[in-house]
């Protein structure tokens, strides 16, 4: 096509985009560079100068963290909470969305509006009575309390995503199964759920990311317990390490490394998840 000619102007555009991209990369460069600087005053030296001798030991120091809240603990906590929450969100959310869409009618419309509400509601207002409530139930600082929290908080998003997908899912296969005499439950798990795979992928990735990176809720509900998630652990580490940028950056680098790896593999799915709404 004529438009895809690689003109000199295109080359100029490419160069400027690369330049902007490199500027965007600067924080990453600083992160790795400073994290490898040895202790002492070199940390306060020129930020762009490479370290005299890369101090890989900073990474093991950062990994050990402090007596409570090592990065390892943070990873484990985050993983447990994220995976189990996502599991329940998928199972319960898909069932809920399916029921709402397939039953249709007025009740269904009301429920959709309700869940849409939940999408934008800021979490702060409900946190206050929630904290008091969960404190009374003894759920503060526990995995189950946190999982319950996330399943509740992200249910609207999950239902919304599944509902959107389900609306355009033709009910043919379900009808066929019903004609064959299958029970609704069977129909759902054998027929519908496998068809929901794209949506399930999107839900898992989007909700998983939200939960993994969340800071405010775990700060309040898990702060100080041995079950603190990764962001809370980082916050505590930085508070205790105020001056040692090299260790702080090593800790930050360790914590975002899995996300970078995840990004490399899941980029396409991520983009699909966020941009599914753009159709001409």
């Amino acid at each position: 096509m004529s438009h895809f000619r690689y003109t000199p102007r295109t080359f100029l555009r490419e160069c400027s985009m690369v330049l902007i991209g490199l500027i965007w990369l600067i924080p990453f460069f600083l992160l790795i560079n400073i994290s490898l600087k040895p202790g002492g005053f070199e940390v306060y030296g020129s930020p762009f100068q490479l370290p005299s001798k890369p101090a890989f030991g900073n990474y093991s120091t950062a990994w050990q963290g402090s007596a409570v809240g090592s990065l390892g603990h943070g990873f484990v906590s985050s993983a447990i909470i994220t995976f189990i929450s996502v599991f329940f969100l998928i199972v319960i959310g898909s069932l809920t969305a399916y029921t709402i869409i397939r039953r249709g009618g007025r009740g269904s419309r009301i429920l959709i509006v309700l869940f849409t509400f939940g999408l934008v509601l800021p979490v702060q207002l409900g946190t206050i009575p929630l904290y008091a409530e969960m404190h009374e139930l003894g759920l503060i600082g526990t995995y189950s309390g946190m999982i319950l929290l996330y399943v509740g908080l992200l249910m609207p998003v999950t239902v919304f995503l599944y509902a959107g997908f389900l609306r355009s899912l033709p009910p043919d296969y379900e009808e066929a199964a019903r004609v064959d005499g299958a029970s609704p439950l069977r129909i759902f798990f054998r027929v519908v759920f496998p068809l929901l795979r794209p949506a399930t992928g999107t839900v898992a990735i989007l909700c998983g990311l939200i939960i993994w990176n969340d800071f405010f809720t775990p700060l309040i509900f898990l702060g100080g317990s041995s079950h603190a998630t990764l962001p809370v652990v980082i916050y505590g580490l930085v508070a205790g390490l105020g001056t040692e940028w090299n260790i702080i950056f090593a800790a930050v680098a360790i914590s975002i490394a899995p996300l970078i790896i995840f990004f490399i593999f899941a980029q396409r799915q991520l983009i699909r998840g966020y941009t599914g709404g753009i159709k001409a």
Binding site: G40, V68, G69, H135, Y235, G236, A239, L241
Partner: protein, 436 residues
């Protein structure tokens, strides 16, 4: 931010911030009689909560636990270490729920983490007034008493003063200031040599608060050590107090005289360490226990000078920052009391002192502070005030919001965002508004 948030974490690494180990108190008690009284060897497990330490150092109570377990192998001490930002909430919640650790690190007064007076009144700390070691507790431990009830065993003593670089002051040809005008002259001398008089962490209310308190020590507390109790009875207010207005105006004078480093309003603790360590800043207002660490890390000789202000020389501030309290619902009272006894005895005191590089209160009173601690500049004030019982750290008995209002207000004064009267008014408001 909790009041002495930055004070607790300990650092082992080369450049330590101005917040590491705390001073200990030697109660000069003889070996714990409690252990001799037991008829059969105690055994079991107790839980002890302490603030978490960063780096490879053990928290003080963890060090104590290790020594204790060596002596009493049948008793297992399980440590629960909690980051400072959450310590108060976590311990309080656990105790309120009827559970919680058997023993926990507490602080004096009402305003700080696990404040002994507050916890004691709320029934979350046991009365220790009839323990055998009680007679050895120094008089300045008022922050642990409510009337005749003792709600904690005070373990360490923290001094607040100005840490200074001996070489810098010599180079600039100045002596440690004792009045505001001397301080301003010191700042001018520093500036003329390309340095800066004082490094302040404007972004950290805890540090700006210390500067304000040191000025208040000169302008308010040196003349009226009981100002806080007058305030508690509503007889005086921050906004109408001549001394407090004086103190904050002194700060403004220091600020406009260029006493602080450029970019001070956004500086964090790392700036303080960097400036002091690189010999650019002559002095820092802070708790003094990190002096040995900074000295060895940055190869400096440090000393301390006391509070100056319009009111003249004010001496020092200090308090029994940390102690240990007993859970009134502990399931292992005998074991917990054995540990307390160990802490109060010379052996426990020794462990604390060794791990914390600090003089004991008796050394302070006797004027025999060991030389490696950089306290020779204020040793005399420490002794005088210790004997007179006038060393205090007022924010320990304030509520958190009041000290936060002070700290943040000082930052606002630095940037010109607020005025002295507005800050004092907000302190009064915080004092009365917050029920905690």
């Amino acid at each position: 931010m909790p009041i002495t948030n930055w004070v607790r974490p300990r650092r082992t690494l080369a450049i330590a911030a101005l917040a590491s180990a705390s001073l200990s108190v030697s109660l000069a008690a003889t070996d714990a009689n409690a252990s001799a009284k037991k008829s059969k060897p105690l055994s079991g497990t107790i839980t002890v909560a302490d603030l978490s330490s960063s780096g490879n150092n053990l928290s003080p109570l963890a060090a104590e636990a290790k020594a204790f377990m060596k002596k009493y192998p049948k008793i297992h001490v399980k440590m629960e270490e909690i980051p400072d930002a959450n310590y108060n909430a976590v311990v309080k919640t656990a105790l309120q729920g009827g559970g919680g650790p058997d023993l926990y690190r507490s602080s004096a007064g009402t305003g700080d983490n696990a404040a002994a007076q507050a916890f004691g009144r709320a029934g979350l700390a046991a009365n220790l007034a009839s323990e055998p070691w009680v007679s050895k507790i120094p008089p300045n431990a008022a922050g642990y008493y409510v009337g005749k009830k003792l709600y904690g065993l005070p373990m360490d003593f923290t001094t607040y003063a100005y840490i200074y670089n001996v070489a810098d002051l010599q180079k600039w040809g100045v002596k440690p200031p004792t009045t505001l005008s001397q301080a301003l002259a010191y700042c001018a001398a520093a500036k003329s040599h390309g340095g800066v008089g004082f490094a302040i962490a404007g972004a950290v209310p805890a540090n700006t608060g210390v500067y304000a308190m040191l000025l208040a020590q000169s302008d308010v507390y040196a003349k009226q050590p009981t100002w806080d109790s007058l305030r508690a009875h509503g007889k005086v207010r921050f906004a109408t107090s001549k001394g407090w207005n004086q103190a904050l105006n002194d700060f403004l004078k220091m600020n406009s005289a260029g006493c602080f480093e450029p970019g001070a309003s956004g500086a964090g603790f790392d700036q303080l360490t960097m400036l002091l360590g690189s010999q650019q800043a002559g002095a820092v207002g802070s708790p003094t226990f990190s002096i040995p660490t900074i000295e060895s890390a940055a190869h400096l000789t440090l000393n301390t000078f006391g509070a100056f202000g319009s009111g003249g020389y004010g001496g020092v501030l200090g308090n029994f920052g940390n102690g240990v309290s007993l859970n009134p619902h502990t399931k292992h009272p005998m074991l917990a009391q054995a540990f307390l006894g160990f802490l109060a005895a010379s052996e426990g005191q020794h462990v604390f002192a060794v791990s914390d590089d600090a003089p004991s209160f008796n050394q302070i009173k006797g004027g025999a502070i060991p030389s490696g601690l950089g306290l020779s500049g204020v040793a005399k004030s420490l002794k005088t005030q210790a004997l007179a019982g006038t060393i205090s750290w007022p924010p320990a008995s304030w509520n958190q919001a009041t000290y936060a209002a002070l700290g943040q207000g000082v930052t606002g004064l630095m940037t010109g965002q607020t005025t002295v009267s507005a800050v004092l008014k907000s302190m009064d408001q915080a004092w009365t508004n917050n029920g905690e």
